[in-house]
Amino acid sequence: MVQPQTQQRNDTLLRVRDLKVHFPILRGLLQRQVGAVKAVDGLSFDIKRGETLGLVGESGCGKSTTGRAILQIEQPSAGQVYFEETELTALSGEPLRQMRRRMQMVFQDPYASLNPRMTIGDVISEPLEIFGLAAGREKQARVQYLLAVVGLSPEFTYRYPHEFSGGQRQRVAIARALAVNPDFLVCDEPIAALDVSVQAQVINLVQSLQRELGLTYLFIAHDLSVVRHISDRIAVMYLGKIVELADRVSLYENPLHPYTQALLSAIPIPDPTVEAKRQRIVLEGDVPSPTNPPSGCRFHTRCPWAIERCHQIEPEFRDVGDGHYVACHLVDALGKFDPALGD
């Protein structure tokens, strides 16, 4: 696998190399390992300082696991994650804990990610206490400032999470993540559990925070319109692998991988004349099991253009020009998708 190395070192905040997360399947009295769920199976990508990398894919393709593995909340089975020059995957204990000041996470479900026994103030001040960043009056002031930053009233400090709506809770979760002044934030489908009317508010908050604080995001989502709106570059995941990675414009204008093409064709277009002409690529069959992924290209079981080679040889994830990466046998060296390549 060719590793993306187009960016300058100091420009790059996070580098992921061949990251794998396999969950063992244990059976029987002796808990023998009979297999593994290959949730994330060899990812390599960079995240540049100050950018938003969108990560899309259908449910169960390993998006969330990727986010957690980068932050070392989930133990990666193999591969490396570098934060600036620090190899996170080599750290544990106290050094890793100290790194958590620089990278934080916003979880998918704001109904589950806040401890029901802690007041909003306690939730937000916890990171401050953990790293001894502020105490007493200063801590209180800081909490109220953070509440203001995410657009909540300082009066909420002594209330409990159950008194709030989903959108408000997600704001609290964002405030908690921001408390330590991180550089990097993993947003794991932060709006998936919210009402449509609230989604836009949270998205806008996330974007304005990036502008004001110079944050770098890994934004995980399955909603393509949201990803397009928020991302600078987008990675498309299928069954534990990234199949295509490109900047927003080239991905949406010129999708190379058949899976990306199918995904994009599913977005409705708010223009009746264009919508009427829209060609939907409907994929056949279901996503194969990550326990026993297909040989060769993982997408060949559902790919309308699959050729013999796709069944046997895993396509290389390679740069086909201008930082547009794709893993498909049917994309030629010039970065053109050409089904005739198989003939």
Partner: protein, 298 residues
């Protein structure tokens, strides 16, 4: 990072004092009629236990040759037993023993059980396997049997019986705690706390413990009653409270022989046990609700 989050000084809302929070907790607790009744019962029991010498009209151990098995009267409110001892005085003094047995036994089993369950659930891996299989083995024996074995080793006395009862219900608390810890450990807020960089101590005591308290409190309140009953059973077998001691279970057991002739000898200690147990259960339910912020509607 292009810009730091600076800390200006916005208006700081006053912190509610611990005192006020506690008063609020009591308010919520005693809003439910059950907790009120339970609280009153336990308050009365505690007062009776503390002021037993002032309340009891007779010496609980003083025998009366001419007054055996007398029915309740103005002089002997609850009647007398087969040795002519005043039953009311015995029950009043017995409350001291019963409360002590119940609380000490539950304290022993809860401390050990919760600790075991937490360590097993939190640590996982082989620690979990070793601890929980050990607990399973203990669990497979009847509590009374473990208590009997413990008394056999320690020797028969009320203190040893209390310890034995405490030991015998450790597996119960360990199981409940273990299960609750497993549930909480997989919740997202726990992962969030990990991601924030919380250390083990904080994860256990700030995040897990407050969230698993409810089931433990419920088990503990029921546990007090179970402990009282188990201790009584041991007393009945001659392994707990030794004869002249006015332990409720012992009085009840002794009165069994005269049940038809003198039903009051069994009725009153039985009632005393039942009411005390009820008090613990009612208060426990109230506590469980009051400790859950979601129930704390203002």
């Amino acid at each position: 990072m292009t810009q730091q989050i600076t800390t200006p000084t916005p208006p700081v809302a006053p912190l509610p004092s611990k005192n006020r929070e506690f008063r609020r907790f009591l308010q919520v607790l005693f809003r439910s009629p059950g907790a009120k009744i339970g609280g009153v019962i336990l308050l009365v029991t505690t007062i009776v236990a503390i002021f037993a010498p002032a309340i009891a009209p007779f010496d609980p151990l003083e025998m009366g040759v001419g007054s055996t098995l007398q029915p309740p009267s103005a002089e002997h409110w609850f009647g007398t037993d087969d040795f002519g001892r005043d039953l009311f005085s015995r029950i009043v003094y017995g409350s001291r023993l019963t409360l002590r047995i119940g609380l000490v036994a539950v304290f022993i089993s809860m401390t050990a059980g919760v600790l075991l369950g937490m360590v097993a659930g939190y640590a996982g891996g082989w620690v979990e396997a070793v601890l929980m299989r050990g607990v399973d083995v203990l669990f497979s024996f009847t509590e009374t049997l473990i208590a009997l074995a413990a008394v056999a080793v320690l020797g028969p006395s009320l203190t040893n019986a209390t310890i034995a009862v405490g030991i015998s219900s450790i597996p119960f608390y360990a199981r409940v705690t273990y299960g609750a810890v497993l549930v909480e450990k997989n919740k997202e807020y726990f992962k969030a706390a990990q991601a924030v960089g919380a250390k083990h101590f904080r994860l256990i005591f700030r995040h897990i413990l407050p969230n698993i308290l409810s089931p433990i409190i419920v088990v503990a309140t029921v546990g007090v009653s179970v402990a009282v009953l188990s201790a009584s059973a041991l007393s009945f077998l001659g392994l707990g409270a030794q004869p002249p001691s006015p332990e409720w279970g012992a009085i009840l057991a002794a009165g069994r022989d005269y049940f038809r002739r003198a039903p009051w000898v069994t009725t009153f200690p039985g009632l005393a046990i039942a009411i005390t147990v009820l008090g613990f259960n009612l208060l426990g339910d109230g506590l469980r609700e009051a400790l859950d912020p979601q129930q704390r509607r203002s």
